[in-house]
Subunit: 324 residues, 2 copies
């Protein structure tokens, strides 16, 4: 049982990362208008959020710029144009996906770019490529995190071996990513335990990125915080792929550092997120996502179910059973 003082006090080391544009962009093809992005930036400033992730640094050879909004690519110039002069302590982040980015060219030296942090996303089978991007970005002056995806169906020994390799790089923080929304808090506590063992040996931070397939994104996030995880991802209105993420408004309400102010999250949700939903952008917990979470698999079949506007949950459940 966690100590009462841990709930009452706060840890200086906590870093809140707003992933609305990046993970949320996966459900509207990154088509956020400039006013939305500027309002989000100003909200994060007022709410005390530490990092704002603007999207992906996607390779234009692989992804057609006409088929996505600009936050799929996060060109430095586009960011400068929309955000303007950076204010306050809010740092900017972009995600570099192993195999899907041309980091050597598209990520310029930090002093020429608006970004402070590059988040390197990798699966377990591309760790050396992730390390290569991390070192390149560190050499260019960036902070980096490494987000190892889809660990819920990986062997613990494989994850540990990967952590040993990544922790020997100059990465700042290793993220636990529950890509499938399959983990219960008790399982997450055990995963944090072995991440901590390796991360503390190398002086690295740990982060958590949760999905809401089992309506546990917030619960898993605060479980991780209680276990010592310092970097926490959240999105406004839980916006994110499939079932979505940990809600920023929930997270800020939980954190006790007075710099975090959930009022501004309420205001942003009211003024901007409600409109996105009304305009037909679809995300969030529903039974198809619960079904893929329960069976610990990628949500792609549930996303297809959603896109086809199906509501025959029981039939979908049976389809998943038949696959196995």
């Amino acid at each position: 049982m966690k100590e009462i003082s841990k709930l009452m006090d706060y840890r200086q080391g906590i870093r809140v990362v707003d992933a609305t544009l990046r993970d949320g962009g996966l459900v509207n093809e990154f088509r956020f208008d400039d006013e939305f992005v500027r309002a989000l930036y100003n909200t994060n400033l007022k709410a005390g959020v530490d990092y704002m992730e603007l999207g992906y640094k996607a390779d234009k050879e692989l992804f057609d710029v006409n088929k996505f909004g600009k936050w799929k690519f996060c060109d430095d110039e586009a960011v400068f144009k929309v955000i303007g002069e950076k204010k306050g302590d809010l740092k900017l982040a972009a995600m570099a996906d192993v195999g899907r980015c041309n980091y050597k060219e598209d990520i310029r030296p930090k002093d020429e770019s608006p970004f402070d942090l590059i988040r390197v996303a990798t699966y377990l089978n591309t760790i050396p490529a992730a390390v290569e991007i991390i070192e390149d970005c560190v050499n260019k002056g960036y902070e980096t995190t490494c987000n190892i995806m889809a660990i819920s169906n990986a062997q613990e020994k494989d994850v540990k071996a990967a952590l040993e390799i990544i922790c020997q790089s100059n990465v700042k923080c290793i993220y636990i990513v529950d890509s499938y929304g399959a983990l219960y808090p008790e399982q997450l506590a055990r995963i944090v335990d072995f991440y901590s063992e390796i991360a503390s040996k190398y002086g690295k931070e740990i982060g958590i990125h949760a999905h809401d397939n089992q309506r546990l994104a917030f619960a898993n996030t605060i479980e991780a915080i209680g276990d010592g995880v310092n970097w926490v991802d959240a999105t406004y209105s839980c916006m994110g792929r499939g079932a979505g993420n940990c809600g920023m408004e929930l997270l800020l309400g939980f954190l006790k550092n007075p710099k975090y102010r959930e009022y501004f999250a309420f205001k942003f949700v009211e003024e901007y997120m409600t409109k996105l939903k009304a305009d037909g952008v679809v995300w969030g917990y529903d039974l198809q996502y619960l079904a893929t979470g329960l069976s610990n698999q990628h949500p792609r079949s549930a996303i297809a179910f959603t896109n086809e506007k199906r509501t025959d949950y029981a039939e979908f459940y049976k389809e998943l059973l038949a696959q196995e």
Copy 2:
């Protein structure tokens, strides 16, 4: 950290209580049609649910029978008529609210009634009245539980004193009720701890009834299960007052006893719950409920906000601040 074996195996003592009609009835004035109730009964049978709560035993002197559906009153005859011959192991329950029921007349001896379990709901200031109802019902042949509401803003010493009194009665189980949806799992773990200390002394079971104001109803329920709580309330599609309850489909997916089958929950949600929502019955997590949960207060102002179809969450947040 809980043992892995506790997640993999299951406890024989777990009892799942479907509270859809009772807590859900609070958002549609108990107007469920007979077909819905029969389908729910059959679903609970197939899904392995242990108890089905049909509603309240409300006093007709205090509540106008023309203003509510019949599940507010749960007349034995009405239940016999809708459910017919009882099947399988599914037991039936009704709630007796201290001060709002005429239990001496309306609760008949068990062998004349369809019910197996009477759940006595009480606030901390009416414990002797609760004990009176418990003993009356036990004498009539029923199992009983005692649901102490709104403990999240009570003094721990008061709750302990109440538990000592109730545990000396013939009650079977004491419920922890997070009426305001204000508790985090870490806090709940500590509450379970002192409930357990007293309950085990008297050989009583502990139950959990959670609300989803902070999207933690399911997380708090499985936290409680991990801590040794055996009686767990859930509702289909989380239907319940305000932000709603722990979802039955989530809970059945978590429990490992093979008698619980979440497929039937998926099917019921698809065929019946989706229709209720489409017909305009409103419940579930939203920012007004988060706001009252965060400030640890009764959701009545948030329910009014919902009923007025307001969406100015930020203004509502400020109204709550101004109250204090």
